[in-house]
Symmetry: C2
Subunit: 428 residues, 2 copies
């Protein structure tokens, strides 16, 4: 196949006509497909059919420490739930607080708390003239939305195959005391599926922040979410690395079972040093009396321990892996060698990241939309929804059925081709 | 029985000796009883043995609008849960957002949001030199803890038998633009069990706040929590009264099923005008993707509608009412006519409020503690834990078994007598 950029104007015009015809046909199908968000499919959710009915009413609501999980209390979570989440987060149970159903909510509240009350006694951020966060890009739109809502200035940090550009991270963090945080999805990153290298993690752990209240916001959302394709990524554990570097207070770890059990009915957790957790506890004891302990108990009794979770995630992978393979194979087959896009081939997580020719992402997403295929909004993977090159598109293959995904991908590659041809014709 | 204050010094000294002997005997029993918090008893929680197992896995997780409750989404709650909570709150479903397991958390977040982002576009409170809240006293300690954490100045407003002193409320709210809120438990108030009169509610609705971002924080925690003693209190619905007065944006209503189903696993709700809810939605859409919809579904399918809830609360009352009767009967029998205390006899809620002689509350709570009976800390019912008269004690009779409660009350009346005698002897 010839690279598009090597085509003559006539060849491009001819190709454009052909693609436009195909596109009109596609629109005529009246499709309504969605690859916008990282939602588990109904098939995945059905796997846990016994989850809600399994425990009750026959068995006890009493935790191993004798707590009646139906009543008030246990701010930091019941001990067996802290242990389970600690295994998932590869830290100690006493380094974990178990929260409610949403790690996003825990992250939001963590930033919010810093705005009003500071971090472990530091000046509340709302009293400072300027607060900045570093944002590896492309990244997770909901992270950026949090810092945007609080008026925190966001600075793009380019991702490399090993994680964020650490030269830039060190430069900012070690020299600018207005830089109070960095958003990280360190394993199977959203949207690229990149896992930070050991060196990257160690450089994070060795940071010498100018701000005492700088924290790494380590959202390990996909820690056990392998595709089990024979190549499972391994991530160094950040809290222990920080501790080795004398920096144990520098990281907040976030985790949840949203994509293990149920997105709306999982349990979330925060992992951090004793100093950080003591501060968080002193604040949240005013915010709530406790989270849903019955759901905590349900999770522990369902999985027993981390091994139960891994076995469970293998079943998820059986459903998800063919979808990822379909995406990557389709892109390989339809777009390889054309020079009009690049894409990732991750070993886990929930996304494939696509880089179009500069200036094409918005157009591709709009073309897809018109043909009935909803993608994540172009720009969503950048702070302020501004992708400087207008090139990144996040593909979320998990929710549609294989047959729907196949239809959606046909539209997608068609729109990539059409948009690329139009862009090249602008230049010649 | 002779009033203590009419006793001679010799009579008091004699009585003191007798009471001290009794107290030493009581201490010897080695009791460990708790009347500190408004916890449902295990017996109440056992009533809902079928709650968690009832629905699943046999029935569907699909809401009436076709939403898969196991997946992400539905920020404001599924429609049937909004309807159920709207019935409980006596407003319309579109005036309700259903949240997670804790109305305290909703209240905390509502104040927190105002601190950083203001109220519907007003100046964020953290940017103001001074923010004040009115606090009807005695009141709910956890309300006061929220405003204290955020550095909001709290002003005591005395409770009357009809609710807060409305002359004072009007004076503050209508003239001081730093006054941004008032904490209310309008029905079966915590701790006195007072229900605001129609006139009080109408005067609330007719307030003309100096501050555009003043809101009434209407925590109707005990709205359906009657003792069913034949005298159910009725509370005017505040949102519609505010609307009639042209003030529909002036109130936030809070409610939960924490003491209907389970304290840790219920659902909470916020009720307010469209303008208020639109603002709240615009903020919380960044905070979370949605709350636990499976639990929402479970509640709706369990109760069907408000009638199901009322029937359910009658069963709770069967368990709770004898405990309240025991408290009031014991106090009547042991303390009436002695002039050393007054107490409430509520028709619902979770507390009995006791007023000792001035300067005795701390001593009584400490004496009880030493004899193995834990009460809510003296002062807890006042902002900054400062009861100016040191006289209010909150009695929470629901958690202990009847036999334990009976033991605890014996100790309590003994300690009241002993403390009062000591106090009177100081004066003569």
């Amino acid at each position: 196949m010839k690279k598009y950029e090597e085509m003559s104007r006539d060849e491009l015009l001819h190709l454009k006509k052909e693609l436009e015809r195909e596109y009109e046909d596609a629109k005529g199908l009246g499709l309504k497909l969605n690859m916008a968000r990282g939602l588990p499919s109904a098939e995945q959710l059905d796997m846990e059919a016994d989850f809600f009915g399994m425990l009750f009413p026959d068995s006890s609501f009493i935790s191993e420490a004798g707590v009646d999980c139906r009543n008030y209390g246990e701010l930091v979570g019941i001990s067996e739930a802290r242990r389970l989440m600690a295994q998932m987060m590869e830290i100690s149970p006493e380094e974990v607080i178990v929260f409610g159903n949403s790690s996003l909510n825990v992250m939001y509240d963590t930033v919010c708390r810093s705005m009003i009350l500071g971090v472990c006694g530091s000046t509340p951020w709302c009293k400072l003239p300027k607060v900045k966060f570093l944002c590896p890009v492309p990244g997770y739109d909901r992270h950026f939305a949090i810092t945007e809502q609080f008026g925190i200035e966001m600075i793009n940090i380019p991702m490399t195959k090993d994680g964020p550009d650490m030269d830039m991270v060190e430069e900012y963090v070690n020299n600018d005391s207005a830089v109070k945080g960095i958003w990280c999805v360190p394993k199977y990153s959203n949207p690229q599926g990149i896992t930070y290298s050991d060196e990257t993690v160690r450089r994070f752990a060795a940071l010498k922040p100018a701000a005492e209240d700088f924290r790494i916001y380590w959202d390990n959302a996909y820690t056990i979410h392998h595709l089990y394709n024979g190549k499972e990524d391994v991530l160094l554990e950040i809290l222990s690395e920080c501790r080795k570097a004398g920096n144990e207070d520098m990281v907040f770890k976030f985790c949840s079972t949203s994509k293990v059990t149920f997105p709306g009915s999982g349990i979330a957790a925060l992992g951090a040093s004793k100093k950080n957790l003591d501060f968080v506890k002193s604040v949240i004891t005013i915010q709530t009396i406790g989270h849903d302990k019955v759901n905590q108990l349900r999770h522990v009794r369902y999985f027993k321990d981390i091994n139960g979770m891994h076995e469970h995630m293998k079943k998820h992978a059986e459903i998800i892996r063919p979808k990822f393979e379909l995406v990557v194979n389709t892109l390989d087959k339809e777009l390889s060698g054309l020079g009009i896009g690049e894409w990732t081939n991750p070993n886990g997580g929930y996304f494939v990241s696509f880089e179009s020719m500069p200036g094409c992402a918005k157009d591709i997403v709009a073309l897809c939309k018109e043909a009935g295929v909803t993608l994540t909004g172009a720009g969503a993977t950048y702070p302020y929804k501004k992708d400087p090159k207008d090139s990144n598109i996040r593909i979320a293959p998990t929710y549609p059925k294989i047959s729907e995904l196949s239809e959606a991908l046909k539209i997608f590659v068609l729109c990539v081709k059409l948009s690329s041809v139009k862009k090249l014709l602008e230049a010649v």
